[in-house]
């Protein structure tokens, strides 16, 4: 299975806010992820076809993205170039398009894969819990370390299951743990680049509303501590 054909989470769906462009990367490929006003989420190569400027420094106009350098705009969905303001009123050639990647929203996250069509390789986008979405998505944590090292550290430390069983590495990028306080937690790695990873995490069961913030803080603190330990050790 090639990593390029696998779906990875790249941000919490609710963080792809309207009129904003998320700047992220997957396997070293920079991405501009943005939500159109109609709800569509786009994941594009972070590079304007014209002169290569990062689209993430452009503007999300709601149905199109506008590049910062010469104002070329690209349509949500198709990526088709709609305007080249240096030549007003002239339709751009059909071949001028932003480069798009496969992108779906599932289980509260935006999932992207760099190559492939259809069902593709590896698990379907999502946490693989069938119809039950996670109860609470946690704060995603950026770590200056390779995904393998992060997943390994999570599998060894995140567990502390009530029955003493270790956390389970579901696959190289997914860890499931049963925590004494929080219950089942799902961790999905986003391999940003060789030495950079984002940990996306979700609780299977939602806590009572009155405890939501406290739980978010507690789990954030736990993963940040793990991040600090991984970064301090330099290797897992």
């Amino acid at each position: 299975m090639s990593r390029e054909r696998r779906w990875f989470p790249v941000c919490r769906g609710e963080e792809a806010v309207p009129r904003h462009i998320v700047h992220t990367a997957l396997l070293g490929q920079e991405l501009a992820v943005w939500r159109a006003d109609d709800g569509t989420v786009n994941a594009w190569e972070n590079r304007c076809p014209h002169r290569g400027v990062r689209l993430s420094v452009g503007t999300n106009l709601g149905d199109r993205l506008k590049c910062r350098y010469h104002g070329w705009t690209y349509a949500s969905g198709s990526g088709q170039c709609l305007e080249r303001p240096a030549h007003p009123g002239e339709a751009p050639p059909r071949i001028v398009k932003a480069r798009r990647f496969g992108c779906v929203e599932s289980d509260g996250y935006v999932w992207v894969r760099l190559a492939g069509e259809g069902a593709g390789d590896g698990p379907a986008p999502g946490f693989g819990r069938g119809t039950a979405p996670p109860g609470l998505t946690l704060r995603s944590i950026h770590v200056w370390a390779p995904a393998a090292a992060v997943a390994d550290a999570l599998a060894r430390h995140a567990g502390e299951a009530p029955d003493g069983s270790p956390a389970e590495a579901v696959d190289p990028y997914t860890v499931r743990s049963a925590h004494a306080e929080a219950g089942e937690i799902l961790y999905a790695m986003q391999p940003v680049a060789d030495d950079e990873t984002i940990i996306h995490a979700a609780l299977a069961e939602a806590p009572p509303a009155s405890e939501r913030i406290a739980v978010l803080r507690r789990e954030n603190g736990r993963v940040c501590a793990l991040r600090d330990a991984i970064e301090a050790s330099g290797s897992p």
């Binding site: 076809p49 990062r54 010469h70 240096a86 007003p88």
Partner: protein, 286 residues
């Protein structure tokens, strides 16, 4: 990293602004990957010494256009001559050198580009909806320089002395691979041109220092005003340049998608390839 091309090695490059050198006495920088030092020879003598920091070998030094120029090879031609820079009724001032994390060739191409004015220099050199780039002419001269003429653009505040928007005429000239200048119609003396030259110092393939030098028709302008305006404008280009991917300039015409308005950029890329410039570029696959 590629070895610098002979055409660049055996040429002069601006490496420090005199006003800046005067404020600190000596300065360390890098030219074409070679670490160098520039130092004032003696208090107020106006002389400078340039040397390599790796081998300590002395390098030639010339003072021109408010900058120190040097070469890491055997210069086989003089520093480019710009007559406007010697006219007494103009204000001559360096603009404040600024380092940019991108190939110097991208910086030159940006300097040649009018289409970005409304989006990058909004309310100064351009403003929507005045975005059209009318057809202009690009030629390679007998002296093997690129010349773009009959360029026109609507500018809301073309210079610190402008009051109100106007159509501005431009001419652009690429004199050396890393040296580019522009002539711009002056609002008060329509028959003469304001002049700006950009000497780009290739630090490495992906880093450069832009050294601007301005020769403006005086008209009540002072050095300070010219300088802050130049820095304001150039610092608007900097984040754009630093967000260009890849950092080196692709010479393969299929690597990026041009429009008609990019005629000067296309000509520049072809000309670089013909001159054998690869440093700071991604050469087209053979």
């Amino acid at each position: 990293m590629a070895e610098p091309d002979p055409i660049l090695v055996n040429d002069w490059h601006a490496v420090v602004e005199l006003d800046f050198l005067a404020s600190r006495g000596s300065f360390e920088t890098v030219l074409l990957g070679v670490p160098i030092e520039i130092a004032e020879s003696g208090e107020g003598s106006g002389e400078v010494r340039v040397s390599r920091r790796d081998t300590h070998a002395p390098l030639p030094a010339r003072i021109r256009y408010g900058h120190v120029f040097t070469s890491i090879g055997q210069p086989n031609r003089d520093i480019v001559h710009f007559p406007e820079c010697h006219e007494a009724d103009r204000i001559h001032v360096t603009g404040g050198s600024i380092a940019v994390h991108v190939s110097g060739l991208r910086a030159v191409e940006n300097f040649l580009d009018m289409g970005h004015f409304p989006f990058v220099h909004t309310d100064y050199l351009g403003v929507e909806p005045h975005t059209e780039v009318e057809p202009y002419e690009v030629t390679v001269t007998e002296e093997d320089e690129i010349l773009a003429t009959k360029c026109r653009f609507f500018q809301p505040l073309a210079s610190p002395s402008a009051d109100g928007g106007m159509m501005v005429d431009y001419e652009y000239r690429v004199a050396r691979p890393y040296t580019v200048c522009l002539y711009k119609s002056n609002p008060i003396e329509p028959e003469r041109w304001d002049f700006i030259v950009l000497f780009v110092q290739p630090v490495s393939e992906e880093r450069c220092i832009a050294h601007p030098y301005l020769s403006y028709l005086a008209h009540n302008l002072d050095n300070e005003t010219n300088r802050w305006f130049m820095q304001l404008i150039f610092a608007q280009d900097k984040p754009i340049l630093e967000n260009q991917l890849p950092k080196r300039l692709p010479l393969d015409p299929r690597a990026e998608v041009p429009a008609r308005s990019d005629a000067s950029s296309l000509s520049y890329r072809r000309w670089l390839a013909a001159q054998g410039v690869t440093y700071g570029a991604i050469p087209a696959a053979a």
